[in-house]
């Protein structure tokens, strides 16, 4: 399979997924409500004299993104099971990798939409200045999101035909999310504390390596997860 074909078919799958989500708006609304709810709860439950906003905000940001992403990952392959459309995808003369890449792109756009909502809300609720650090913060969020969504998309494919898919997915994927999430939190803490950028470059490199390794691994393993 040539690369242009792989990418074209991947985009066909991704744009179809996004169109389906745009029509139903169920998952995106659920995730958006979840994000707002979590941030409101933390805002009113937080004692600023005990922990400063700048110390707490990065952790809240990433906890919120993680669980909102799991909502997206759960639905990624569920929509293919409704009318056994997954069999149609597997029967089509396209590389299995293009199905994975399409799902990954759709999930990334979904999670990015939630993140676009979450970042200003965190800034607003916790009075954290994000505008001066917007570029580096976007880089941290992008690199960490690619990593855990890549792993999550693979596990979503693995668990979707199981009886307890919605339970199994977080149990399987959360351990793999720990490295990118902890690096992202550490980098975000330093960034929002206005530390020099040189202090976060190491974490960004780690996140980039994680992304390359796990996207490549997921592309290799995906065909085995969807074959009966």
């Amino acid at each position: 399979m040539r690369s242009p074909d792989l990418l074209r078919h991947a985009w066909a799958v991704a744009s179809k997924d996004l169109r389906v989500e745009f029509r139903s708006r169920t998952a995106i609304l659920a995730a958006a409500v979840f994000v707002v709810l979590v941030l409101v709860v933390f805002k009113f439950g937080h004692d600023e004299t005990a922990v400063s906003n700048s110390d707490l905000a990065p952790s809240i940001l990433w906890v919120t993104f993680t669980f909102a992403a799991i909502l997206a990952l759960n639905r990624a392959f569920q929509l293919e099971l409704e009318n056994q459309a997954l069999d149609g995808l597997l029967l089509a003369p396209i590389a299995r990798g293009s199905i994975y890449l399409g799902k990954l792109v759709a999930n990334l756009i979904f999670v990015a939409t939630i993140e676009l909502l979450g970042v200003p809300l965190v800034a607003l609720f916790f009075n954290v200045p994000v505008l001066p650090f917007l570029g580096p913060l976007a880089a941290i969020i992008a690199l960490a999101t690619v990593g855990f969504v890549a792993v999550g998309t693979l596990f979503s494919a693995m668990t979707t035909r199981t009886r307890y898919a919605e339970l199994l997915l977080p149990v399987l994927v959360l351990p793999f999310m720990i490295p990118p999430l902890s690096w992202a939190v550490l980098a975000t803490v330093r960034l929002l504390a206005a530390r020099p950028l040189s202090e976060i470059v190491g974490w960004l490199n780690m996140l980039a390596v994680y992304d390359v390794v796990f996207v490549a691994l997921a592309l290799m393993l995906f065909p085995a997860t969807v074959n009966e």
Binding site: A12, R23, S24, Q84, G88, L91, I94
Partner: protein, 218 residues
């Protein structure tokens, strides 16, 4: 064109396919009749490459690109329109949507409606259009008449007859002898994963095939 050679497959203790062999040539339609759980859907999935058999081999000239699948599930996205669904599947086969496909299946006036809003019979017609979108050389049909009313079933039968007349091959599996016999050039009876009989239909009508089926399966 289509070859199945000593296919064997088990799901745990259940034997789904047990030494199944046959060929289907261009223009032929093999109808496989069997009770629920006989292994009919597994057979089709093995032929389509969706299940790798534990023994034997299946081969279709042209590979996955040559296969059209019509099952009891339509493989459509309920939130999308008829046209969006068909365009999506056509894009995966790198073909344009055949301009007359919708009108051939009586779907032209429903093109802009979401699949969710269609009746079961119309959904099945869209599923047929999806399977034909890339003009496949081989059709694999899993209980394809499910949900079709009499008129739609007759129209579908005519379509399959045209498909066969154009030199295409079909394998149809069903538990309903009356529905499949008219289309078949070859008839097989399946029980517990085995072909207990495989023969040309010849001049046998539905009543004769039904009696042969009862005798073979009993």
């Amino acid at each position: 064109m289509l070859l199945a050679e000593r296919l064997r497959h088990r799901f745990g203790a259940v034997t789904a396919l047990d030494d199944v062999s046959f060929t289907v040539q261009p223009g032929q339609t093999l109808a496989v009749f069997g009770p629920n759980g006989a292994g009919k859907t597994t057979l089709l999935k093995v032929l389509a490459g969706l299940i790798h058999p534990q023994g034997g081999r299946a081969h279709i000239d042209g590979g996955r690109r040559a296969i059209g699948w019509i099952g009891h599930q339509p493989q459509l996205y309920a939130q999308l329109t008829v046209l969006e669904n068909l365009r999506f599947w056509a894009s995966l086969y790198d073909v344009p949507l055949p301009p007359d496909l919708l009108s051939r299946l009586g779907l032209a006036e429903h093109a802009g409606r979401s699949v969710r809003s269609l009746s079961r019979g119309l959904v099945q017609r869209v599923a047929i259009a999806r399977a034909l979108v890339h003009d496949p050389a081989v059709l694999l049909l899993d209980e394809p008449f499910t949900g079709l009313d009499r008129t739609a079933a007759e129209a579908f039968s005519r379509l399959l007859a045209q498909h066969a007349a154009a030199g295409r091959a079909s394998v149809l599996v069903t538990h309903n002898v009356e529905e499949g016999t008219g289309l078949a050039t070859e008839v097989a009876f399946m029980r517990a994963g085995r072909f207990v009989q495989l023969a040309p239909r010849g001049a046998r009508g539905p009543a004769q095939v039904a009696e042969d089926y009862r005798n073979a399966i009993a």
